[in-house]
Every structure is written in structure tokens, then in C-alpha cells.
Amino acid sequence: MIEQHLSLLLVVIPLIAAPVTAMLPGRRLPWLFTLSVTWVCLLLASWQLSVVMNGSVISYELGGWAPPWGIEYRIDAMNALVAFIVAAIAAVTLPYALRSVEKEIPEYQTSLFYAAILLCLVGLLGIVQTGDVFNLFVFLEISSLSSYVLIAMGKQRRALTAAYQYLIMGTIGATFLLIGIGLIYAETGTLNMLDLNQRLQPIMEHRTVHTGFAFIVVGIALKLALFPLHLWLPNAYTYSPSVISVFLAATATKVAVYIMLRMVFTVFSSSLVVLTSYMFLVLGIVGVILPSISAIFQTDAKRLLAYSSIAQISYMVLGMGFASVLGLTATLVHVFNHALMKGALFMAIGAIVYRVGSSRLENFQGLGRQMPWTFSAILIAGLSLIGIPGTAGFISKWYLVLAALEQQSWLITGVILLGSLLAVIYVWKIVEIMFFRPVPETVIEVREAPASLLIPTWVLVSANLFFGFNTELTVDVAGTAVRLLGVTAP
């Protein structure tokens, strides 16, 4: 019975758990409950992935209404892969949360904080599971509203302005998406993704469809933090609580990449893909280089990683720009691998914040020797970020370069390599300050971070190494997903 309702339970279980969590008293109880819910979700997500890995599709009719009239949950390899990433990151982040949240969130807000995390999880999983564009918008709002709240819970007062900035930008993005959905609904009279795809084919040249497409792409690009629309991201990641930086950096933008892929390739496809292709390539090239350079000049470790995230997202956008099988495979593989490396890096920085109380790089001097485990986690995840062979980052860069070479695009190959070189500089900046600078004499002794923070960090770091050698899960599933997207270009 569970297998039949698998795709639904993944969304409904955290949805029911969220209000229950909000009613639980104290600090430990809400945490324990949330932890078990995320682990159940991970179990369901991996089950779902194993079912659709071979290329089959699960369809679920909500309320017993048949699609295209009712809401349909439609799971193929791509949904299942992204849902697995979201559930896995949540399951790894929650053990990390207990100590970190104790330090950063006042007790009377703890249960609400965990409830908001669960709601954010509901939203992200819902976006991935649903096969209905309006339902997707609703889940996008659930995840966005809860993430505004979560970012605003940061300890510094600037968290409030960061959340407000994100609120304004995110709302504009969501509104654009809704306007676009409204326009294509007016043209076709349907909201089901597959049905939309069929009904849009004959009227692809209508101006309304073009306008709707433009609104949808720009709206998602805002959520995605695509290069010129990225301004909300650095503040949001810098000032939010450590746990939220980890969770959002590893999941939120990845889910936005998923929405973009779904909308462009499943809903619209055909002639309009060519239109986005050039835009994605140009913005991707600029977006890899400029944010990487900004990252080099940052004085705050979290902000540095945030700028690096924008550059990494641009790699995924480059892959979408190729619109080829290899390019999209690279995008999906990088979605997976980037979640692993940024999750690990933000966790390690969070461990330092836990001990030192600040993420400013000037306070990191000499910490490498006092916190050796945290330091080596940053080092290995940093190498993965650069794309050193043997780490997960190498696999995605490799496929991206292959995709660029396949189209004989030397410029983009050069840009990808230049991006890696710039990554060397900003990762080295953290390493140099942490390891080669002496400890300032005024600073009191700093101990290694507690095990409950280190173990989740190292789980992600080892995943970085594991997926650097074993590409069966990432590349094969991504390949199946791209085949199902119906991309015909080589």
C-alpha cells in the first residue's frame, strides 16, 4: 500500500509533521520529532528513486481526479533524483541542527523554527513531486515564505534586512511565474505539464505564449539567482542561522534549477529552447567569472561561499544552455554534487561560527591547527569545489567540459577552466588564513567543534569523495532523466 502512495507520502508526512512540531514544547522534543520525519522522508525518497531509476514513471492522482483535470504527481528519474537530494540534505542537516540551533535560536521560538524547516521541506519536495504548474507555484510559495522566516531568525539584526530583500525579490519572481502560468493557461485551458506540452505545440508562435514563456523564465531566474538577478542571495546566506545556510544553499537553488529544466524542456520544449539557449550561455559565461572574482574579495567566509554558489549555479545554467544530452546531464550531476560540496562547506563554517561566534575571515587566523577536523573538511570540500580529480566536483566539471567540447565551443571550455582557477584563489584564501597565519595572541584557546557538528560535516565530505569515484548513481540517473526529458539534440 505504501508503494502505491509513495510519491504523495513524501509530501504529506512533513506537511502533517509541521503543525505537530509547532505544538511541541521545549528544545529537544521538536528537534527529535523533526529529525525522525526527515529520516522517514529520506527513506521514502530513496525508495522512490530506486523505483524510477530504470526509466519508469509513477503517476498519482490527487483526490481521485484523473489528469489533466485533477492534480497529478508525476515522478520520473529527474524528480526522484532532486527529491532524493533535498531529503538527503535535510536528513544530514537535522543532526547538525541540535547544538547549532541551541546557540542561535531562543527557546520560545525553537518549536516554530523546526516547524518552519519542515514547511520549507514540504515546499521543496512538493515542487519536485508535482506535475501541475499551478500546484508547483503553490509549493514554491510555501517554501519561499518559510525560508524568508528562517533567514530572518539569524542572530544579527541585518538578517531582517536580508530576509526583507529576499522577500521582495522572491515575491517578484513568484509573481512573474504566476503571470506566465496565467498566460499559458489562458491560451490552453490546462495546467497539467504533459497536457500543456501537447496543447502548446501547435500554437507555439502565438505572442501570448512567448510572453508567458518570458515571464516564466525570468521569474524562475530570480529564484535561481541567475547572474544579474542574484542580488538577494549573498545577504540571505550570510546572515541566516548556520543550519539554514546549509539547508538553503544545498537545496533551494537546486530545486529552482529543476523548475527551470521542467518548464523549459517538459512544458515548452521545441522551438523556444533555442531562444533560452543563447541567453543561458551568455549569462552563464558572465555568471561564472564575475561572481568568482567577487568571491575573492570577500572578507566574510559565508559571503564568500555565497558568491561562489552564484558562480556554481552559472555552471548549471551553462549546461542548460547547451541543450544537449551531455550538457543537461552535466547540469543534473552538478546539481547533485554542488549540494554535497556547499553543504559540507557551510557546515564546516557553521562549526567555526559555533566556536568563534563570527564568520568573518579575520577571526579565522590560525584556526586550522586548533580545529583540525573542521579545517580538513573545508580543505577537501574546497578541493571538490575547485574540481580536483577524485572529488565529486571533478565529475560535473568533466561532463561540462565534454559538453562544451562536443559543440566545439572553445570559449566556454576556457571559461569553465578559468572558473576553476578563480575557485583555487578563493578556496586558498580561506586555507591560507586558517592554516598559515599564526594565532593572534589576544585570542583565547579555541577547541575543536563538538561531534554532533563534525559527524554530519564529514558525512557530506566523504560523500564528496565517494561520488568522485562512484558515478553510478549520479551520472546514470541523470542520463536516464535527460533521456526522459525528450532532448533530441546530441
Binding site: V12, I16, A18, P19, V20, A22, M23
Partner: protein
């Protein structure tokens, strides 16, 4: 507002009228315009009006914030719980057919229960927002 007798009397008089209208909109929702969202807002308006005249403190004694928090959560649980009941009865999530002996009656009952959940959550969240703005500075 202590000395404003007319206003205080009218507030007391209007409270049940507004609440009654809220329940009308709530339970008439499946025959005419209405439903949980509108009814929830109207019901919270009754309390907000009361609070404007009699003060926040008196209102918080009638409906304390922690009760509102429980109500807001339980509304969502009623909604999702209805879906789970139909799951347990062997149908898809939120398929109300098995809730009663015949499908039409089941659909009727299902939408009524779900709108009740929506109404409870909306009215308590509206009041929570009002409390948060009116009582600025208190945790």
C-alpha cells in the same frame, strides 16, 4: 475607550452578529459564495473589533496566544487528517468518496470538514498577526 458607552454597547451587540455571519459563510460555503477563508477572516474581525474597543489585554484573556497557536496547527491537521483518513480507507489522498456510504454524500462531508479546518486556521492566524502588530515589543 472607558467612557465611550455607545461604542462599548455596540461592540458587545455586534460581536455575536459578526460571528453568526461568519458561521453562515462557513457552512453555507458549499451552496453559495463563501468558505473557510472568508469565514475565518470574518470571525477574526469580530475579535479584532472587540479588541479595538475593549483593549488587547481583555481580548488576550478570552483567547490567549498559546491557544491560538494550538488552533492554527489543529486546523491544518484537520485538513491533512481528512486526506489521511481517505488514504487509510483505501482511496487516493483527499478522495472523499469513502467518507460516507455513498460517494456524493462523502464528497459533501469531506469538503465541509476541510473547510472547517481552513476556517479555524485562517481565523486564528489572522488574530495572531493582529496580536503581533498590536502588542509590539512583547515576546
Amino acid at each position: 475607550m472607558k467612557h465611550n458607552l455607545i461604542l462599548r454597547l455596540i461592540a458587545k451587540f455586534l460581536f455575536p452578529v459578526i460571528a453568526l455571519f461568519a458561521f453562515y459563510v462557513q457552512f453555507h460555503g458549499d451552496y453559495g459564495p463563501g468558505g473557510g477563508f472568508q469565514a475565518g477572516v470574518i470571525l477574526s474581525v469580530a475579535f479584532i473589533f472587540y479588541a479595538l474597543v475593549y483593549g488587547l489585554k481583555t481580548t488576550e484573556e478570552i483567547l490567549p496566544p498559546h491557544v491560538l497557536r494550538l488552533l492554527a496547527s489543529s486546523g491544518v491537521l484537520i485538513y491533512a487528517g481528512t486526506g489521511v483518513v481517505s488514504l487509510l480507507m483505501g482511496e487516493n489522498f483527499l478522495d472523499y468518496d469513502p467518507l460516507s456510504s455513498e460517494p456524493a454524500a462523502g464528497q459533501h462531508l469531506g469538503i465541509l470538514v476541510i473547510e472547517l479546518g481552513v476556517g479555524i486556521t485562517v481565523s486564528s492566524v489572522m488574530l495572531m498577526i493582529f496580536y503581533a502588530f498590536a502588542g509590539r515589543g512583547q515576546p
